[in-house]
Amino acid sequence: MFLAKVSKIVHSTAKHEAYSGKPVFIVQPIDPNGEPKGDEWVAVDYVGSGIGDIVVCGGAPGVAKDVFGLDLAPIRTLIMAIVDHIDYRDID
């Protein structure tokens, strides 16, 4: 999984049914002290996060199928947790 910041909302009407009714966000991966690091991803939210939240994203193949209880879920990047606090010390 990776840490990311929710940056934008993706609005779409024509979509695969597994996406209907689910918020879809642009997330920018960050390192533990908040610096952007790496390419953006599009992620489906499962925990009610919003723009500006620091979240934990990721997902193993097929995880979305269980999480959303779908029989077909073409979803790879999932927002799994909203981060309250990060305690972290880099080692050199």
Binding site: H11, S12, K15, I26, D39, P74, R76
Partner: protein, 87 residues
């Protein structure tokens, strides 16, 4: 999943049967402020969601097979959303 713009289309008569009647787009990956990022790739569109010049969301890796009603196809990239707007 990733964002991309449909920049082309691939027609092929002889292909694996799972891809029959499934459009194949050439998609240029984009950032959310619509700047090119990375190399174009071929993306399947089993739900017939996208057309030329559309901005789409596509799923990669094994989850791409889930975009097919059969749940299986030899693909690792499928269109899942047609983007109306991003803000």
């Amino acid at each position: 999943m990733k964002l991309g713009k449909v920049i082309g289309r691939v027609w092929a008569d002889r292909k694996v049967k799972q891809l029959h009647s499934c459009r194949l787009h050439i998609i240029q990956p984009m950032t959310s402020n619509l700047r090119k990022k990375g190399k174009p790739l071929v993306v399947a569109d089993p739900q017939n969601i996208a057309g030329s010049n559309d901005i789409v969301v596509y799923v990669t890796s094994t989850d791409a097979t889930q975009a097919f009603d059969s749940g299986f196809a030899p693909v690792n990239a499928s269109v899942v959303e047609l983007v109306d707007s991003i803000y």
